[in-house]
Structure formats: C-alpha cells, structure tokens
C-alpha cells in the first residue's frame, strides 16, 4: 500500500474550486485546510505510479501553486488484501 501526505498550495481565491476538483479524484482525501490556502491531502493508492499520476494531476490543476510532499510510505509488495 502506498500512502502519502501532501500540502497543496493554492491561490486563495481558487481554494474552493481546487477543493471541489480534489473531491473528484479517486483515492484522494482532504484532511483539512490551513491558512486559507493550504490543503492537507492524503493520497492512497496501490502503486507509487498511481500515486505520482494523482500528484501530477493535482499539481497541474488551475489555481494550484505547488504541491509538497510531507510523508511517503511505499511498501508496494506488502500484502494488500
């Protein structure tokens, strides 16, 4: 299982829009919002590859200034079922 904790920096005026978009991505959980423009996001996926794809999708969103990774656990071969 691959789990990451990210900080997504947004343009404050686009915060709501970004939150909405995040809600549509599978495996993405919004934990909280800090300082009115930083969204704490947890991503869960099966492989690092999926995880990176999701991060990149977030990074490319309109209104996102950048994404930062705070925690990354990637025992991919760990039994998942």
């Amino acid at each position: 299982m691959v789990v990451s904790g990210l900080l997504v920096n947004t343009l404050p005026e686009k915060l709501e829009q970004v939150k909405k978009e995040l809600g549509t991505i599978k495996g993405v959980e919004i934990n909280s919002v800090v300082d009115d423009y930083k969204i704490i996001v947890i991503i869960e996926s099966k492989t690092v590859e999926e995880e990176v794809a999701v991060s990149k999708e977030i990074a490319a969103m309109d209104g996102v200034l950048g994404i930062n990774l705070a925690y990354h656990h990637f025992e991919e071969n760990e039994a998942d079922d």
């Binding site: 789990v3 920096n9 996001v41 990774l69 705070a70 990354h72 025992e75």
Partner: protein
C-alpha cells in the same frame, strides 16, 4: 490488523503534513513509538537531488528504505519535500544498478574483480603520467560528490599526480556565479541565506524557474507572498514558466539582453536618486575590465583566447561609472530587449524603493551565459548601489542545482585552478596547501589544468589521454556532445566512469566502476546557503558497489600515493571520512570559512559557515551578523581586505551579443533546461519507472504563433536542428513552459540519442568563468 495499519499510515501522513503546515499536532497514536514498533528506523539525510538541501527522514526496515518524510526539524524545508521526494528511495533500487566492475575487452564489457579494475586504472594512469606528464591525465568530478570525496579527489590529482586537470560538472552550473562573487566580494557564495525568503518585500527571479527547480524555496516564497499582500514578485526570463504564476510583473526579454536591462535599471536608480550614497561612498569601489571579449571558440583546433583569457582590471571613478551606464536609457534597453521602456522604469523603481527589502534569486539563466560573470556583476551592482545587501531580506542570491555544488565543488575547490584555499597560480596558496598536505615545497603544479569544455576538447585532440569521470554524466552533459562522444572513442583514449547506473558516459568507458550512492555511504553536502549537512550510512550498497571515496583512495594507493591518505584512524573513530574532514577544516579556519568539528554535524540539522564558537553565520559582511566584521565597521567585504580595504566592487560591464544569434537559416533561439520530474541528465530519475512514465521523453516547447506558421500542432513530431546536429521530438504548445515568440525550449534529461539536446548546443563559453551557455544558440524547427 490490516485496517488499523492502513489507518495508522494515513494518520502518520496527515500528522506529517499538518506539522509541516505549522499546525501543532498532538500525536494521538504515539507515532514515533508506533513506527519503532513497526520496525522502521529513521535517520536524517539531506536530499540527494537539488541544491536547496532539504532535510529528509529516511525510514529503513529490513535493510531497505520503505518510507521517507520531510524532516520537520530541518530549517530549510520544515517537514516538506517537493515531488522528487517520491523518488528519493526509489533511485537506489533501479533494476539496472551496476553491481560489479566492468572492463572493456575487444569492444565488450566484461565483469571483473575490483583488483583487476583498480590495477588497470592505476597502471594506465601511471604509464601515461610517466610518458606524457601531468597534463595528459585528468578527472572530471561533481557537485554531487560528498565533501570528503571532492577533497580526496583534489588531493589525489593535485598532491599525488601533480596535475591540475580536475574540474567538476559544477563548471556547467555555477562557475559564472563563482567568478562574479570572487571579483566583487573576494569570497565565493551568497552573503545571505534562505531566511531572506521570510523578510523580503520584493522578489526578483532572474532566469530561474524556482517553482520547478527549487520547489521548496518557491513554496516559502509563495507563503510569504500570500500571507503579506504588499509583497511583490518580478519574474525575468525568456519564457513564461510556473514561477511566473505568482509574478506581479513579468519581464519577457530577448535572450542576452538581460545585460542591457540590468544596466538600464542601474541608470534609472542613479538618475532618480535611489542610490544609497552613504553606503556607496563607504563600501564600494568601481572597476572596469576588458570589453569585446572572446567566446572560447575553437578555430582550426586552436582556442580563440577563451581558455587563456585574462582580464585586466583597472579602478575607475563613480562618475565614470555613471557615464558608462547613462547610455543604457530605458529606450535603448527596450529596443534591444523588446521589454516596454516603462516596465523597465517600473521594476527599477520597485527595486530601488528604500522602504522595501529586495532579494534577487537566479540560476542557470544567468550562469549559463557567455557573459555570465558580467550579468552576475550587473545584479550585484543593483544591490550595491542601493545598499540592499547582507541583511535580512536584502541581498543577491544565486541558487544551485546540485546538492553539493557549494559544499564540495566550490568550497573544497575541485576546479582546475583551485585549491581548498585559494588558487594554484598563487605561490602562497600552494605553500599553504603543501604544508597541510605535508608535501615537499614545490609539489603543487602552478599551471591551471583543463576546465570542462577544454578537457573534452583535449581528450578529442589526444592531448589528454586518461580521463576518469565520476559522479556525473559528462558525455550527455557536454555541449555539442556528439563531437566529444566521438573523441572519447578514438584510439589511445582511456576512459573510466564511476556511476551507480549505466549511462551515456559508461557506454563509452574502458572501465566502469559500480558506485554506492547517497545513504549507502556516510556523507556530507553543502547547500546554497552555506549549510553543511551530514548523514550516516543507512543501508548497504548493492552487490560490490563502493563509494567514490573508496575508489579514489584505492587507485591512489596503487599509484604510490598511499601516504596522502594514511591517517591514524584510531584517532578518528576508525573513519577516513572524519580524518579527511578534520584535515580539510584547516583550510578555512580563520579565513572566513570556519567549519564545526565532524561530530557536531552528525547531531545538528546543518550549520551555515563561518561557524565561530559553535555559532553559525546567517548574513555575512555586516556588523552584528558576521563575527568577522568589527564593531563600528558597519560592513566589511573582508574578502577584498588587501585589495580595496574591504570594499565591494561595482563592475562596468556592457551589453555584448551572444556568440550565435538566430539568422535566416536558423531563425529561432534554442534554450535548454530541466523539468520538475527529472533531475539533470536523468541518470537517477529515469531509472524510476513511475517518474520516467510521468515525462517519458524530451519535447520542444514552442510559441503558438511560431508553431502555426510552421504548420506544427501540439504533439506533432518535429526536427530541431542547429549547425551541430539534430533531434526529433514532439512539439508542446501552451504546455508548462511558454516560450516567447522566436524561442523554443527543450529539456536535457532525455538520454535517447535521437532526442539528446546537447547534440545541438554550442560548445563555447564565458572566457572569464569558462562556463558554457546552454540557453542560447540558433536553431531551426521543421515538421517531419
């Protein structure tokens, strides 16, 4: 069990992110204990990638890295990593890691023992040295070497082989910054530190896509800007990048005309009364060097003077300087640069505003420039005219691309003219090194060796016969690389390459050595803000891989230079790393580069030198911040103590054109660089399948109007060619990079021979810094 583990991991992830966001979290799960119970052992290390130098916590279980997190105690990144953090551990576990030495035999690479490989290298070097002398052998090193690896290499080449043919890939990266720091302040490296990010009111980014190349610093910049609405950001460059998204003012200039814009800004500062006259009269002098410089071209196998160029500086008056910049009116700079004149006036006023603190950040756009030293000077000039320097939020700051470009390449001095303190040309500096290295007087060679481009030319010509490339990918990184790749394969050349992975360089080698990387060994890096950071070995290297340090020392021993590395290790906890570092410290002590003892660095999250009485220095040259500046002096640029009594130099540098500009045959500018997902030549990041798939191949970003006039659509396959070669890539229109009309951008990570952009680049350089320009040459784009 599974559920709780999943919950636990998510809680850990959330807690880490919240801590990094500055929210204090009460640890509901007792995470630290839980992770210990989960069998994860955490150790600290600086990031393996860029010069930002983020602190990482590396989680190891059963001898393998299984987790990483931003180190919440690291002042640089406070618990955060950029997206490259995903790949930090993965880079160790690429499927094609080299694990055994290889020796070429009738064109095939065969596995060999370390003894065979090392003996072969030592004997080749020795016989060549005996027959052709110290200019016939060389080593090309790295800003990714650990501090002691660079130091050992310097000792091996300079004290052992008595050659100065040692240069690092950092020559491609920040030699221009070094040149200008030395000529302006008499000492290298920024006076300020990253804390400036939290104090500045105005940010200037010059030729730097911080958002993708130094993402953590950029997020500190955006934090400052979003929290304080008065903060302004001016982005200056030849294309619109992610960094431009926070810019209040975007200055899109024609390549090379940054020289004119910076002079025009100085002119406006003077004309409109923004000069801090008190600061200038007490702390500044004015200098003029030679103008109409050569470009380091090779003409009929001879250098046009670039390699041997020596500037002749003379002092001039403030009035002469004013007169010199007065020709750079906003109108003239506008005509050259295509930037509206009123914009140039606006940014000059913003820069000069005495109520605002201003910091300038730059990277390769300024350094990879055939007038790179000059444009660095011109930015220092602005900071010196306004006295905005050496205090919180005020200063010029060159960022670095490699994790130890500063700590190893610059501070240890693994350049062809350098010693750990001073330069080989200076008899006093040689004597000093000879004393510390316990060498007979006169051992060190006084003649500088080949710098990077010249080294490749010499290898091609055959003047250089043995070359050892370590910790970098020379035969992908060189400009006009096709020529030098052919040169390396000529008869009579002996090439050794040390690397963890097969690369475009290892494939040309006669001997390949498998190398331990990052936390597979104990190490130390120095980041861009003078912060020296150590790490312990966390995992075992795969197969028979060995550190660069071990490799250097073993070859040195076999060549009869064992005495250079014979330390009584019982005094150094059995560690040669410690012995080398403690010896190295002697070079800086008392000369403005005081380092703390070895053991201290293993405990702290890095310290910014000079470290005096256990305390680091955040801002150099200013009273109250820098212990080297005495009470009452206000400022003391003590690197210039002897020459100017501690004043900094403002240099008169004109606009001069680029060596190759677009014409009817090659009508577009070609600019190269990096992308967020890949690091440098992609040796490490292309080994990570996820990252490789993220940006699988190089592309060419092109302006929509240029594309449409060439009949090119987004995704079209196109040929990009220059006078030196061609590549076939896909076009990207309105992608992340948005070049100005008339300019195209191609990233350089791609190692596919048909897409390697250095097939196209121009192998000339700044005659002062000898740094090549990877940002400007003339090209043509056609649909295929």
């Amino acid at each position: 069990m599974k559920l709780s583990r999943r919950k636990f991991l998510k809680a850990s992830a959330a807690a880490a992110a919240m801590t990094a966001a500055g929210v204090s979290v009460i640890d509901p799960l007792g995470l630290s204990e839980a992770s210990a119970a989960g069998g994860i052992k955490w150790t600290k290390a600086p990031c393996r990638f860029c010069g930002t130098g983020c602190g990482i916590m590396v989680g190891v279980k059963n001898g393998k890295i299984i987790a990483t997190k931003g180190d919440p105690h690291a002042p640089v990144n406070r618990g955060l990593n950029c997206i490259k953090g995903y790949f930090l551990a993965k880079i160790l576990y690429g499927k094609d890691r080299l694990t055994k030495p290889l020796i070429r035999n009738n064109g095939r690479m065969l596995e060999a023992s370390w003894d065979e490989a090392l003996d072969l290298i030592a004997s080749k070097y020795k016989t060549t040295l005996d027959k052709y002398g110290p200019t016939s052998i060389g080593m090309f090193g790295s800003g990714q070497w650990t501090i002691w690896e660079g130091y050992a290499a310097s000792k091996f080449v300079k004290a052992g082989m008595r050659s100065n043919n040692l240069d690092p890939n950092a020559r491609f990266c920040m030699a221009s910054a070094v040149g200008a720091f030395m000529r302006t302040f008499g000492k290298d490296e920024p006076m300020g530190c990253y804390d400036d990010l939290e104090y500045a009111d105005t940010f200037f980014t010059w030729g730097a896509n911080m958002a993708e190349m130094h993402p953590i610093l950029y997020s500190r910049l955006t934090d400052r800007k979003l929290k304080f609405t008065h903060v302004k950001h001016v982005d200056m460059g030849t294309q619109i990048t992610r960094t431009s998204s926070t810019a209040d003012i975007m200055i899109l200039f024609k390549p090379q005309t940054d020289l004119a814009i910076a002079n025009a800004m100085a002119n406006i500062l003077i004309k409109e009364g923004y000069v801090n006259e008190d600061f200038v009269s007490k702390h500044v002098t004015f200098k003029r060097g030679l103008h109409n410089l050569p470009y380091g071209r090779e003409i009929n196998g001879r250098n046009d003077g670039g390699a041997t160029f020596k500037d002749k500086a003379k002092g001039v008056s403030y009035e002469e300087y004013k007169k010199f910049v007065s020709i750079y009116t906003p109108a003239y700079a506008s005509k050259l640069s295509n930037v509206p004149a009123d914009k140039i006036v606006e940014i000059a006023r913003l820069f000069g505003d005495p109520k605002r603190k201003t910091v300038s950040y730059w990277t390769m756009g300024m350094n990879q420039h055939t007038r790179g030293v000059w444009i660095n000077h011109l930015v220092y000039n602005l900071h010196l005219l306004t006295g905005k320097i050496s205090e919180p939020g005020n200063g010029p700051f060159s960022l670095t691309g490699q994790p130890s470009a500063c700590g190893t390449a610059r501070e240890v001095g693994t350049f062809a003219h350098k010693l750990p303190r001073g330069v080989v040309m200076n008899p006093k500096h040689r004597a000093f090194a000879e004393k510390i290295w316990k060498l007979p007087p006169g051992t060190i060679n006084p003649k500088p060796g080949y710098h990077s481009v010249e080294m490749a030319r010499a290898f091609d010509r055959g003047d250089l016969k043995c070359l050892w490339v370590m910790c970098n990918n020379y035969f992908q990184a060189l400009p006009n690389v096709t020529r030098y790749r052919k040169g390396a394969q000529k008869e009579g050349r002996f090439l050794v390459v040390s690397d963890p992975y097969p690369t475009r360089s290892t494939e040309l080698a006669d001997v390949v050595l498998p190398t331990a990387m990052w936390v597979e060994k104990e190490g130390a890096y120095g980041n861009a803000e003078r912060r020296t950071q150590f790490w312990e070995q966390a995992v075992e290297p795969p197969g028979e891989s060995k550190s660069d340090l071990w490799q250097i020392v073993e070859v040195a021993r076999r060549m009869g230079y064992g005495h250079l590395f014979d330390y009584d290790l019982s005094r150094y906890d059995g560690k040669i790393e410690k012995a080398l570092f403690e010896e190295y410290r002697n070079f800086g002590r008392g000369f403005g580069k005081d380092l703390a003892p070895f053991d201290v660095y293993h405990k702290v999250r890095g310290l910014r030198w000079p470290v005096i009485d256990g305390k680091e220095t955040l801002w150099r040259y200013k009273e109250g911040y820098d212990p080297y500046v005495k009470a009452g002096e206000e400022y003391n640029f003590y690197g210039n103590k002897k020459k100017t009594g501690g004043r900094a130099n403002i240099w008169l540098c004109p606009y001069e054109p680029a060596p190759e500009e677009p014409d009817s045959q090659y009508p577009l500018w070609l600019c190269t660089g990096r992308v967020l997902e890949h690091w440098h030549s992609g040796t490490m990041t292309q080994r990570v399948p996820e990252l490789h798939r993220a940006v699988p191949e190089a592309f060419v970003s092109i302006h929509p109007e240029d594309a449409s006039s060439l009949g090119i659509k987004n995704g079209s396959r196109v040929r990009v060619s220059t006078r030196r070669g061609e590549i076939i890539v896909r076009a990207e229109i309105e992608g992340r990079n948005k070049p100005q009309k008339g300019l195209v951008f191609v990233p350089w990570f791609d190692e596919d021979l048909t897409r390697m952009v250095n097939n196209l680049t121009l192998d000339v350089y700044d005659p002062i810094s000898k740094q090549a320009d990877f940002k400007k040459c003339a090209c043509k784009v056609e649909k295929v």
